[in-house]
């Protein structure tokens, strides 16, 4: 953990795709062990921001600082080994490999990749698969899983890496309401039991309002708000850009505060 209590700091991160400004001087910090929600309309630059953090894209401007190390422009595998794991918005299982092998790859090449043995990796992977509820499926090829299970597998592969920072890109999208509730329960457990910091991109509002300690709102690549769920939900600019109906937005806040969601 960094001395100042922040595990990740983004400073003026700017990313262009040709003429499109996908990220426009985005600056914010994430505290150790908090859950940071990242919301915004489609195409706001959320996934792009994850791609910059995990090294898929190099930003044209700005810096990414993880635990006092400037990791801007590092290769993805080096960033992964430093302790940042992520899931993909569009699931990317290693289809031909078994569910267990998928999770083992997370462990073998994650935070402890230099020292971990195959046996240890297998043990961690099995534990994590039980944890996310895929224990029974561990010997199946990942390709045969359904959407919900593939989302869980993404999570399992990321958790098996034993990361300090976990980036979740819409793990709730495409799930049925019951599945969403189950996943929220799982994320709560992870937050309670594991020494982990999470940034989650999410369109399912009640989930993110419910889980996040703080929220950053992106709009056309710009950060338009940052604060607690209440502050964000009451922010006029956020309501116009994203939440739409202010009454609805406030209902979200009330709902989760009264513990209904």
């Amino acid at each position: 953990m960094a001395v100042d209590g922040y595990i990740l700091r983004l400073e003026n991160v700017t990313k262009r795709f040709g003429g499109l400004l996908a990220l426009d001087h985005v600056t914010f910090s994430v505290k150790h062990r908090e859950i940071m929600g990242l919301i915004g309309p489609n195409g706001a630059g959320k996934t792009t921001l994850f791609n910059v953090i995990s090294g898929v894209y190099k930003p044209e401007e700005g810096r990414v600082i993880f635990k006092n190390t400037d990791i801007t422009g590092w290769k993805p595998h080096k960033i992964a080994r430093l302790g940042i794991a992520r899931t993909h918005q569009i699931v990317r299982p290693f289809g031909d490999l078994t569910v267990l092998e998928n999770a083992m790859i997370g462990a073998l090449f994650g935070k402890r990749s230099d020292e971990i043995t195959e046996e240890e990796a297998r043990k961690i992977a099995e534990e994590v698969l039980d944890y996310v509820g895929l224990g029974e499926k561990k010997d199946l090829p990942a390709r045969v899983l359904n959407v919900q299970e593939k989302k869980r597998l993404e999570l399992a592969r990321a958790l098996s890496a034993e990361p300090e920072l976990l980036l979740l890109d819409e793990v709730l999208a495409g799930l049925t309401p019951t599945e969403v509730e189950n996943m929220i329960t799982l994320l709560r457990r992870i937050r309670a039991e594991k020494n982990i910091t999470i940034i989650m991109i999410e369109h399912v509002m009640h989930a993110v309002m419910n889980l996040a300690d703080r929220i950053v709102v992106l709009h056309f690549g710009r950060k338009i708000a940052e604060g607690t769920p209440e502050e964000v939900a009451n922010n006029p600019e956020v309501i116009t850009a994203y939440l739409g109906d202010p009454a609805l937005a406030l209902r979200f806040v009330k709902k989760f505060r009264s513990g209904v969601a």
Partner: protein, 341 residues
């Protein structure tokens, strides 16, 4: 590292090593037929070449279409040593020993050829891999075909201008006075090296990394796999193993250094992996057991049409069984999976 060789999936490798050892033993004791020894040798080579290709194609998902270049480099290394550099010396030693080269000298030169072949192959694979492994899919395959021809013409140029060999293609055969059973054991040594290395790469941490690359290279990199390093390691090992088979071919054949750059070898290696199933160690082995008898019979029966049959086989395999024999077995009998690594 030793744990890898205690898994059930090693049984198949072990059985092969024992069976080919027995065939050699029978040949040595003059019990088996000469034909069995010759066929055994062929089969070992096809399995070995299939496995060499598997390391890059089947494990990592990169089809090295010009992989014959490494067989050619192994051939060239042996031809250069035996038929040119030490040719006079070998003839002298042979004369001094009543027309038969002493076993010690043969073994020494066999090892020297393996070492020189390894150096050629590893250096080439490292340099070229560094450049072309940034390409994906068909572009990588095409680049390796280019590599095959570039190296072939460099070799021909060298032979023409510096050795003045016959049409730049052939180096005189010093006729080492070796028999088929000697060649058999040479094949067997290379066979064991190939089996152990290819198996280990598959089941070790490298194998997991390569499998991830094959399935989704970008996701592998994000999961922490140093994809470029792993691909380079796989390409170097695949090239190195193929070069050893170039040495085997030259000792058994006639030290014609340029024949082995034939792209047909690449095609066959690819076919073996396609028949057997992508992604596994057992795949190319099964593929060889399908391909070799077919080739043998078609060559005997169909003569020049053997190539036509080969072509038809490729089309059939790609169209009807893209998952290969191992893929089908694994799907139908999941419990076999632990034996079919």
């Amino acid at each position: 590292m030793l744990e890898a060789f205690k898994k059930p999936s090693f049984y198949i490798a072990l059985i092969l090593i024992i069976v080919f050892g027995i065939i050699g033993g029978l040949g040595q004791a003059n019990i088996g037929s000469a034909q069995l020894v010759a066929n055994g040798m062929d089969l070992m080579m096809w399995i070995g070449l299939g496995l060499a290709m598997a390391v890059i194609m089947s494990y990592a998902g990169y089809v090295s279409f010009g992989h014959s270049v490494f067989i050619g480099l192994g051939s060239f290394a042996s031809a250069y040593l035996i038929a040119y550099k030490y040719s006079d010396y070998l003839i002298k030693v042979k004369m001094a020993h009543g027309g038969v080269l002493p076993a010690g000298t043969t073994i020494k030169f066999f090892i020297m050829a393996l070492l020189l072949a390894s150096v050629f192959a590893v250096v080439t694979a490292a340099l070229v891999g560094y450049a072309v492994l940034r390409l994906r899919g068909a572009f990588f395959a095409i680049a390796t075909i280019g590599l095959n021809y570039v190296v072939l013409y460099l070799v021909i140029f060298y032979l023409n201008n510096y050795i003045h060999s016959l049409e730049g293609l052939e180096l005189g055969n010093p006729s080492m006075g070796l028999t088929n059973i000697n060649f058999y054991w040479m094949h067997y040594v290379i066979f064991i090296i190939t089996i152990l290395v290819a198996y280990y790469v598959r089941v070790s941490k490298i194998g997991y990394g390569l499998a991830a690359i094959r399935e989704d290279e970008d996701a592998a990199e994000i999961a922490g796999v140093d994809t470029f390093k792993y691909k380079l390691i796989a390409f170097i090992i695949a090239g190195w193993l193929a070069s050893l088979w170039g040495v085997a071919k030259e000792f058994r054949g006639s030290f014609v250094a340029t024949d082995d750059f034939n792209l047909l070898y690449s095609v066959i290696m690819i076919l073996e992996n396609a028949i057997g199933g992508i992604g596994s160690f057992t795949g190319p082995i099964i593929g060889s057991f399908v391909y070799y008898p077919l080739k043998w019979y078609t060559q005997t029966i169909a003569g020049v049409f053997a190539l036509v049959i080969l072509g038809i086989l490729i089309i059939l395999v790609v169209t009807f069984t893209p998952e290969g024999v191992v893929g089908i077995l694994r799907r139908k009998y999941p419990r076999l999976r632990k034996y079919l690594e």
